[in-house]
């Protein structure tokens, strides 16, 4: 189950490379701007998107993230985009290209455009967490003036995620041990199991609250600030956004292709 892997991306974030050391605020903002640039391409664009692979490739290689970890996740997830996208080839059947005598319809082009955009945006989101760590993201969000309550919420959620996953696993194991085949998975049993998990959760929250009180909790949680903006952070941000802008506004792909084609013919 993919939930077991949730800690893996976070372990990758403990590395110490150039991109890991960047200020989380910068990484969040640059990644978001990157995604905006990618989705701003019109729906029949494929070639123009290719240069944008440079950003995820940079995060991947400079951050020393194994390609397999990201590729596997990208392949696995969100069938929704593909599910919606696959209708384009069926519905948009106007032939708009005939390279080497093969007729290509607009639908296939827009479908592949969706896939390329999907790979770019999803891999960037995964790489962001892999080179920043969840705590880093929370720190970044806090310093980007996201409401503190939301940041605290995220920190709590992450902290107790693994505890509760183990609790759920114990419940699942108990169900397995007491049932044959498909039995034990009826809605009635399910409601009881999940209610028990819910009650244990609420009781745990009560205990946590007591523990917090006894350690001097006064309604405020401080988030550790580990990063500060340095010149290299600003340089990275400026350079990245400039590159995105150039790649978006100048058709480098056609230029390279045209030059190559001319030089060969």
């Amino acid at each position: 189950m993919e939930y077991f892997n949730i800690g893996y991306l976070d372990t990758l974030s403990y590395k110490d490379t150039f991109v890991h050391r960047l200020d989380p605020r910068i990484k969040i903002l640059v990644s978001f701007i990157f995604i905006l640039f990618v989705v701003s391409f019109p729906k029949y664009e494929i070639a123009g998107l290719m240069p944008f692979f440079i950003y995820p490739v940079f995060l991947l290689t400079a951050g020393d993230i194994p390609l397999r970890a990201i590729a596997k996740k990208v392949l696995f997830i969100s069938p929704f985009a593909l599910f919606i996208g696959i209708f384009n080839p069926l519905l948009d059947t106007d032939v708009i290209l005939t390279p080497f005598g093969i007729s290509v319809t607009g639908g296939w082009i827009s479908f592949f455009s969706i896939i390329v955009k999907f790979i770019l945006t999803v891999s960037t989101a995964l790489l962001l967490i892999a080179v920043t760590s969840f705590l880093g993201i929370c720190e970044g969000l806090e310093r980007l003036k996201f409401p503190r309550l939301l940041v605290i919420q995220l920190l709590f959620l992450y902290r107790y995620l693994f505890v509760l996953l183990e609790e759920a696993l114990r419940i699942l194991r108990a169900r397995e041990a007491r049932s044959f085949g498909k039995r034990g998975k009826e809605i009635k049993t399910f409601i009881r199991l999940i209610s028990i998990l819910l009650m244990r959760t609420v009781e745990r929250a009560e205990r946590i609250y007591q523990a917090m009180l006894s350690r001097g909790f006064r309604g405020e949680i401080r988030v550790l600030k580990r990063h500060s903006l340095r010149p290299r952070d600003i340089l990275f941000a400026l350079l990245s956004v400039m590159i995105f802008y150039v790649l978006r506004n100048y058709d480098i792909v056609s230029f390279i292709g045209e030059t190559l084609r001319r030089s060969f013919s």
């Binding site: 989101a125 107790y160 505890v163 419940i171 609250y209």
Partner: protein, 344 residues
Amino acid sequence: MHMADALLSPTVGGALWAGTLGTIIYCARKLKEKMDEKMIPLMGVLGAFIFAGQMINFTIPGTGSSGHIGGGMLLAILLGPYAAFLVIASVLMVQALFFADGGLLALGANIWNLGIYPCFIAYPLIYRTIVRQKMSHRKITIATILSVVIGLQLGALSVVLETKMSGITELPFSTFLLLMQPIHLAIGLIEGFVTAGIVIYVKTLRPDIVDDLEGVKALSSGGSLKKVLVVMAVLAVITGGAFSWFASTHPDGLEWSIEKIYGKPEIPEKENPIKENLSKLQGKTALLPDYSLPSKGKEEANPSWPAVDPGTSLSGLIGGIMVLVLIVIFGIAVKYMRKYKEKT
């Protein structure tokens, strides 16, 4: 029904992020005004509970396939709308980051679709109204199922509207709607039934938990502000939608003016740089490329992709492959440089 970045246009995604962010800030303020400190750990642990709860599966009656809970409405019932919205937002954020469910731009849309409707429409307008006088088991069941179904229907409708407004899919509006709504009706009925079961079961076993939670959420029953918020949120989405409508008419005007100058809707090949820039501009502003009524006929008359010339497309192909090769080389170089640096 998670939205994906690849299906969104920047305007639609941005408008929904703005609406979502506004609601998050509003909820945080509202909670801060008068919050029981107890809520802080409770909210956090309940967010983790949604993840853990999704690991326990059940057999969907009649189909044999298995499902799990979504939990949005359950949170709204247990925590009240403001806290529930923050918890839903945090759950979706973790999903977007660790599983890349959707992506970072689509995250705004996802929080909107799965958070706003259960918390600020289904909960106050349906659940609360039905359960207000008396909390009998029957009333809880009816109220819960109804609000889950309506919340999910609105969410699914939003997904359709957002995708359509972004202009990426070719699916006709009605077909898309017919595809999404019935599936989510079925999902909603099951989710509603399960959620009602959980609320009742917890209430019978540990009434103090439910009562306690209700005492905490009593603070969030202020009515008029909620309406203001809903109106504001709806306005935000409409503005976003309207903006992309207007934006889409812009390139037509440009094309029209080029037509006047050259007698053709596109600039002749020779003046490549200008054409390049203009078509880029069109690409940037055409947020609804063919979202007008007779879509097929219009497309034939006015092809939205300028590069029909096979020569241009061939260089696009060669260039694209070349760029990818260069990026791979770049990646290898960065990797090599990093290793070299580590050694020294």
